[in-house]
């Protein structure tokens, strides 16, 4: 059971370069916008640059956050398994969670009503509730 797979790098350098370029471009757009606003020249264009700059900045930060390595876990959802016990005499039904050593047609505990031995008649996985 030897392993030679190296762990994945958190951020790809290629993506990092793209994010960096986007970040620099956004900063330069902001710089031009602020400069125009201070000098009170070309006000309409400076607002456009301001919007482009903020948008670019937000996009770069978002991409950076998205690429951050998240710790990986095995998230195998264990399904809930139900066991149904039935009394062959009085038809009393008992539904409970599956327990180890349960199997279909196993004779188990005495019936709560008539003391006859109950039989496991069903074991199945509970259907997932649709969200």
């Amino acid at each position: 059971m030897t392993d030679s797979v190296k762990p994945v790098r958190k951020i790809s350098p290629f993506l990092l370069v793209i994010i960096l370029i986007g970040f620099i471009l956004s900063l330069s757009a902001l710089f031009i916008a602020v400069q125009s606003l201070i000098e009170q020249t070309d006000i309409l264009n400076s607002y456009s640059f301001l919007a482009i700059g903020f948008f670019g900045l937000a996009l770069s930060v978002y991409m950076l956050l998205q690429t951050r390595g998240k710790p990986m876990h095995v998230t195998l959802e264990l399904p809930k398994v139900i066991t149904t016990l039935e009394c062959p005499k009085c038809d009393f039904k008992n539904i409970r969670d599956f327990q180890k050593e349960d199997y279909i047609f196993k004779e188990t505990v005495p019936c709560q009503k008539c003391n006859e031995t109950m039989t496991i008649t069903a074991i199945y996985r509970e259907a997932k509730k649709k969200k």
Binding site: M1, D3, S4, V5, P7, V8, S12, F14, I21, L25, S28, A29, I32, N45, S48, F49, I52, M72, H73, V74, L76, L78, P79, V81, F98, K100, E101, D102, Y103, I104, F105, K106, A122, I123, Y124, R125, E126, A127
Partner: protein
């Protein structure tokens, strides 16, 4: 806004447009020369992340198998090394250059493998009873499958990385979603086997077990039990694998034995098995047809087909549809609920296809884990 947009195009005279032009040209040149390599890197990265998940699933499976063996089998020493050796176990298929008699050769290899597995599990878990041994064997087989999937994907990943061949990486990247689905199904199966829960594949065995309730059973072939059940004036020989441990038995031998006992006087055989559904079909859907409904390596199917051909016995099939995940994970309610409709169909088939006093074989095929008789 328009001047800025115009500035992004060639001909703009501000610094931003200049930067955009340089970046655009840069991207163009990079993608022209390194486009395929970038695509390959992206694919490799995707395979790598799936491989990491596969490794986690494999390790988790190994851990579950180990814990189950320690809990049930109460081994004297540490079974870790033995389990790790077991996970690498191989069975070499017989040579098929001269196909005559290959079925019996394959059967022999499978028998030897089965005996060896059982012996190994007994050594690992000396305190386990027969049903628990079968469950442990199934658990270890699921862990083995996970180990194999991980190693095959790792092989192609490392080979692709070594040779930098787009096609090696591409072929593995394309089948990855299906492989991941299969691996997750095996991971679910492993947990079901470790605690002995019935699985979707046991649909056929459950139908047979329901039919034989209240009737005496006898072991008719290795790990196969049969009961004689009267149905509408006919005599039905109902057989299934011996439960409740994880077991598929040798239904081919069972059917052959009944045919032999009845000197070929069998009016019809009805086989019930789980079958893979197509996307869009509902799990638990039932379909009817003809032919030997049985999976596996083909040995049992061959034996059944051989016996029915010699005696000219019609064979009917009823299948309960499910996907690969359902087949090896704890039985879904839809599949469990399919038992009564399947029994109705069996009775209808018997009424339509046989006369009073006839002999009928009803074979419930599949893994009988968590299903008694």
């Amino acid at each position: 806004m328009l001047p800025q947009l115009a500035g992004l195009l060639p001909g703009g005279d501000n610094i931003v447009s200049l930067i955009f032009q340089v970046v655009f040209t840069g991207f163009f040149v990079v993608f022209m020369f390194y486009g395929q390599r970038i695509q390959m890197m992206v694919m490799l990265r995707e395979v790598e992340s799936h491989l990491r998940r596969l490794k986690l699933i494999r390790d988790d499976g190994r851990k579950v198998a180990m814990e189950t063996i320690k809990e049930i089998g109460k081994p004297v020493g540490d079974p870790t090394e033995r389990i790790d050796q077991f996970l690498e176990y191989i069975a070499i298929a017989p040579q098929s250059m001269d196909p005559s008699g290959i079925v019996w050769k394959l059967e022999h290899v499978l028998d030897v493998r089965d005996v060896r597995f059982k012996d190994e599990v007994k050594l690992m878990a000396p305190e386990a009873d027969e049903a628990q041994l079968n469950n442990l064997e199934n658990t270890l087989e699921a862990a083995m499958a996970l180990n194999m999937i991980y190693k095959v994907i790792r092989h192609f990943y490392l080979l692709g990385k070594k040779t930098l061949s787009l096609y090696i990486i591409m072929q593995i990247q394309m089948v990855l979603p299906l492989i991941m689905q299969q691996a997750e199904a095996y991971a679910q199966a492993l947990r079901a086997f470790s605690v002995g829960q019935p699985i979707g594949d046991g649909a056929g065995a459950l139908v047979a077990a329901t039919l034989m309730q209240g009737y005496e059973t006898r072991e008719i072939a290795r790990d196969v039990v049969a009961a004689t059940v009267p149905i509408d004036g006919r005599t039905a020989y109902v057989l299934k694998a011996k439960g409740p441990g994880g077991n598929v038995g040798k239904p081919g031998d069972g059917i052959r034995q009944i045919i032999k006992e009845k000197k070929g006087k069998i009016s019809t055989i009805i086989m019930i098995d789980a079958a893979l559904k197509l996307e869009g079909e509902k799990p638990g859907e039932i379909a009817e047809g003809v032919g030997a409904a049985i999976g596996g390596p083909g040995v049992e199917q061959f034996k059944i087909e051989d016996a029915i051909l010699k005696n000219k016995i019609p064979v009917n099939a009823i299948i309960v549809k499910q996907d690969i995940g359902d087949a090896v994970s704890p039985m879904r309610k839809e599949i469990f609920d399919a038992v009564d409709p399947v029994i109705k169909r069996i009775k209808r088939l018997i009424l339509e296809r046989t006369k009073k006093g006839d002999n009928v074989i009803i074979a419930g095929i599949g893994n009988t884990i968590g299903i008694g008789q």
